[in-house]
Symmetry: C2
Subunit: 232 residues, 2 copies
DNA sequence: TGTCAAGAAAAAATCGATATTTGGACTGTG
DNA sequence: CACAGTCCAAATATCGATTTTTTCTTGACA
């Protein structure tokens, strides 16, 4: 799924940067992507921006509507629930496979990435999410699933995870996920995984995933009853 | 995941037609896509072809290598095995969910699409695969998973299935999948599904998926021992 | 005869410009 | 004052041409 081989073509650079903006929450969900602005900003032609954005649409981070341009994927409660259920099913599946088939090196990398994660503070002094934390968090979860040895499954899980990061970002900014010890959740997942406790680890992962969704849904339902309403 | 709303834009037309060529097996796996030829053939500009092909690359039907253009996805034994394992895991998962949550209307549509499939001959008089069969086959398998009510999961499963169709096409042409009663397999899956026999149905589906792979792998290994070798 | 390199041909990436479409402002009417 | 139709500006989709990069050809040299 990832395509970052040797020579960074213009399209790829632009793709990466827009992708970063999306996941970094610089662009509000549902807002239209102004291709012209991007073209100016990155000093490239429209065609380049277009192709980059088309790829992002393929990943689901961006929605394309013919004749009407592109927009940051709209976040709705029903889509969030759909995404969450999909992630729970697929990520627990992949984790179970990893626990069954992962080798010692994988076990080691789980411990290593968890260690890094555990020692990276989540918030900056300004109360924003630390980019380093995002990185470490992503690496940890990716490693968890990387032991299954089925690269397509891994790729799919990663893609879903990226989509969820859009929600995650806005949830942390908006809903402020209170009273939750995320670090403890991670520790539990890591320990059970390394202990090869398939049932325990998958359940811990399921709860970890569902908890964020629950917080966001609670927040959103406080605002409005409909499922189709945008979250932000 | 599918984007076929209202107004067929040029890109979308070209996308559809190239996609059809790929799944219909008109283009051999691994062969380079000559964008210029497409542009001429469909009487559109290069940009249009480029964007269409970019999307196909996002689905995995086409491989993109920077500065080197696009090629029909290369079929290798190891990728086939990876794909098969992924499909088995995800499709059985989706089927299990469907059996658990599917309603009566879904049950009916399973019966209906199976009925259609059962009465559509697989081969034409010329010994080729009948396009109508392909259609019916696709509809049946899609319906099986459509009861789960999780649209993303469905979309993922459909995407994997499309990738597999590439292999399937060439397998039927090359390896001739002997001594196999595919119709009976379909009937069994349909019956167990409607009977809400989760374990039985998922196992039948697993075997159905794995059987095609096994035939192709046997065929390919007769030719060459390496996993990375192209199948065709 | 095999290897390597310069140069030509082909293909890919990118650009700048044009044709269409969309969304909204404007205006005249009931 | 609400509403419908028209017109205009912004944005999208598409095109044709230019710039790079890769690939192929060919010929000199060891």
């Amino acid at each position: 799924m990832a395509t970052t081989p040797a020579k960074p073509t213009r399209v790829h650079e632009v793709y990466d940067r827009i992708r970063g903006s999306l996941l970094g929450g610089e662009l509000p969900p549902g807002s239209k992507l102004k291709l012209n602005d991007f073209a100016g900003q990155y000093a490239v032609s429209l065609s380049v921006v277009r192709e980059a954005v088309t790829r992002l649409a393929g990943e689901g981070l961006v929605e394309a509507s013919p004749q009407r341009g592109f927009a940051v994927a709209q976040l709705t409660i029903s889509d969030l629930q759909d995404l969450t259920r999909t992630r729970v099913l697929i990520e627990t599946l992949a984790l179970a496979e990893s626990i069954k088939h992962g080798d010692l090196a994988w076990e080691g990398s789980v411990i290593a990435t968890h260690h890094t994660l555990a020692h990276t503070p989540m918030m900056t002094a300004q109360g924003h999410v630390d980019p380093a934390f995002t990185l470490a968090h992503r690496a940890f979860h990716h490693t968890l699933l990387a032991g299954c040895g089925v690269s397509r499954l891994e790729g799919i899980a990663t893609g879903l995870r990226d989509c969820a990061e859009l929600y995650q970002h806005w949830s942390q900014e908006l809903a402020g996920d209170t009273g939750r010890d995320v670090a403890a959740e991670h520790r539990l997942i890591a320990e059970l995984t390394v202990a090869r406790d398939e049932a325990g680890a998958t359940q811990a992962l399921r709860e970890h995933i569902e908890r964020t969704t629950a917080a966001l849904v609670r927040y959103a339902e406080g605002l409005d009853g409909t499922d189709e309403r945008a979250l932000a």
